[in-house]
């Protein structure tokens, strides 16, 4: 299920639900479709809302695009 609430970390507006609490209606596990940030709806607001999300952990599209590859993909070996 995709909704259009903002990701707390990168502000992307496509967020999906990964899981719902076994006890119905207690919490959902949500995930940003761009930066893959994953959170539970019952976590403290510093982890669940864009407004309160700490500056040092925020991520921009450039951060995602330019993140280093670990490990680097090796060249294909010729058969």
């Amino acid at each position: 299920m995709t909704t259009h609430a903002a990701c707390p970390r990168c502000a992307f507006d496509a967020v999906r639900t990964l899981a719902a609490s076994p006890v119905a209606g207690v919490w959902l596990v949500r995930q940003c479709e761009r930066c893959l940030y994953t959170w539970r709806t019952t976590e403290p607001v510093r982890r669940t809302t864009r407004e309160a999300y700490p500056e040092e952990f925020r991520m921009t599209p450039a951060d995602i695009e330019n993140a280093i590859e670990v490990p680097t993909v090796p060249p294909l070996r010729q058969p």
Binding site: P22, C35, T38, R47, A67, V70, P71, P74
Partner: protein, 477 residues
């Protein structure tokens, strides 16, 4: 006593007063991680934690801080719970000499009780996943034993690797995975990706306590972790064949996850609060597709809190980092007495050694940096005399303060390799490294005024044992 699974070890911890059951309802976040974080802040002898009343879950069972004190580490090795740290390391080193002990294959693995496969795989339905630190990108599997094989030697038991790596859950059947380039699974992945092939993996959760120790231990590429587990347990390690990959996995695991690292794919992962006491990431990491889940009925989910040291991970990888370095150094320098590599997985190492001739201690320090583990971790070495206990930090500080001439005894070598996670590296993966020679100079190195050292009285060792016995007897009353 050797434990074949996590449950029997939890029962033993309970019997020893080292398992704290939290029966009040707690929130998955921030309570679980905060409790495990707190276990590292309440002083010596912290217990393992067991939660089974977590808000929103119907049948979650979560074990934390299982190895998170020297008391629990001693019990994991089948030792009396008050065994001193130096003695735990010495016993660990002595059992190492029994390597290899062949494992024992069993067919009745309890994780065969339940299965999910293909499109039915849903990690969230089996595991009560939760976040550890504020800035983590998501929920992590961080105390798993990951099994992989060398694609060019798939039948070589020794080259089959069992290792602990950080794994982020990024979907019901998808994981992001961190193979640090110096680690064996990265070599396996490199070979598979060169051929454009996926790399099969089996990820086992909730393992017996020695399996958790060996899977985080820096061993040689072709040494089997299962054969080392047998040596450390003093009994063959029970293993079973995983149904999808056919890999050898621990018999007693709570959960076995099988799938493949998808070839030549990278996706954003992290950040994650690491053993360095700092976050690392986000980085573009390999991705695992999960094809099969096998699990015990009512599985116990074991997780590990790590962050600003000391936390459980420091106990877990403390002795298992000391011993390989001790063995490798002694192989060439029998003068080496003891190695303390339990600070940040051996980024700082303290070595006590006798001296063969002037300048010898610096050579020992340089060798520590060129061991296999040293290439990726050892960036600071303090070398002390043979009569200094490297596990006794006041003694080490005495040696530093009294023996070191900074101009002559501090050696800095620039631009050496280190794991990319090292916070001080610049650029990531490159650092300078330092040796502090805090040993007494010997000929032909004639510096200083060290002719009349004061030494412990000859009777002191006997009195130390006597006082310890008196104290134990008094605490038992």
């Amino acid at each position: 006593m050797a434990y074949d699974d996590l449950r029997s070890f939890l029962a033993a911890l309970d019997a020893e007063g080292q398992l704290l059951r939290v029966s009040d309802e707690v929130l998955p976040e921030p309570d679980l991680a905060a409790a495990a974080n707190a276990a590292g802040r309440i002083g010596e002898g912290a217990p393992a934690l067991y939660f089974d009343n977590v808000k929103g879950f119907t049948d979650a069972r979560i074990a934390l801080n299982v190895h998170g004190s020297w008391t629990n580490h001693a019990l994991a090795l089948g030792l009396p719970k008050h065994t001193p740290v130096k003695e735990q390391v010495e016993i660990f080193a002595s059992r190492w000499d029994d390597f290899p002990i062949a494992p024992e294959r069993r067919e009745d693995a309890p994780w065969r009780e339940n299965t999910q496969a293909g499109g039915d795989v849903d990690l969230f339905s089996v595991l009560p996943l939760f976040r550890l630190n504020d800035g983590d990108g998501g929920f992590y599997l961080d105390k798993a034993a990951v099994v992989s094989r060398d694609p060019e030697a798939p039948d070589d038991f020794g080259k089959q690797n069992v290792g602990t790596y950080r794994i982020q859950v990024i979907g019901p059947d998808r994981l992001a995975f961190q193979p640090v380039p110096v680690h064996d699974v990265a070599l396996h992945l490199h070979k598979a990706e060169e051929k454009g092939e996926d790399l099969p993996v089996a990820i086992t959760l909730g393992n017996d306590p020695v399996m958790a120790i060996v899977s985080g231990m820096p061993m040689a590429y072709d040494q089997s972790e299962y054969e080392m587990a047998g040596a450390l347990r003093g009994a063959p390690a029970p293993i079973a064949t995983s149904p999808l990959t056919g890999f050898d996995v621990p018999w007693g695991s709570e959960v076995v996850i099988e799938g493949v690292i998808e070839s030549r794919k990278r996706q954003i992962e992290g950040p994650f609060g690491e053993f360095t006491g700092h976050y690392s990431g986000g980085r573009r990491m390999p991705v695992i597709r999960v094809d099969r889940l096998s699990y015990r009925t009512n599985p116990v989910f074991e997780s590990l809190y790590l962050g600003k040291p000391w936390t459980e991970v420091d106990y877990l990888v403390g002795p298992n980092t000391c011993v390989p370095l001790l063995k490798q150094l002694r192989a060439e320098f029998p003068e080496v007495q003891a190695v303390n590599a339990m600070y940040t997985h051996g980024m700082l190492v303290i070595i006590s050694t006798a001296k063969r001739f002037g300048g010898f201690a610096k050579a020992v320090g340089m060798r520590a940096m060129t061991t296999r583990h040293g290439l990726g971790y050892v960036s600071q070495v303090i070398v002390v005399d043979e009569d200094v206990d490297p596990f006794d930090l006041p003694q080490v500080m005495w040696a530093m303060s009294a023996k070191v001439d900074p101009r002559e005894d501090v050696v800095v070598v620039p631009n050496l390799s280190v794991v990319e996670l090292a916070p001080a590296a610049q650029p990531a993966g490159i650092t300078s490294k330092m040796i502090i020679d805090a040993t007494t100079p010997v000929a032909p190195d004639v510096r200083g005024n060290f002719s009349t050292p004061a030494k412990d009285l000859p009777e002191t060792r006997e009195w130390a044992a006597r006082l310890q016995q008196l104290r134990t007897a008094a605490s038992a009353r």
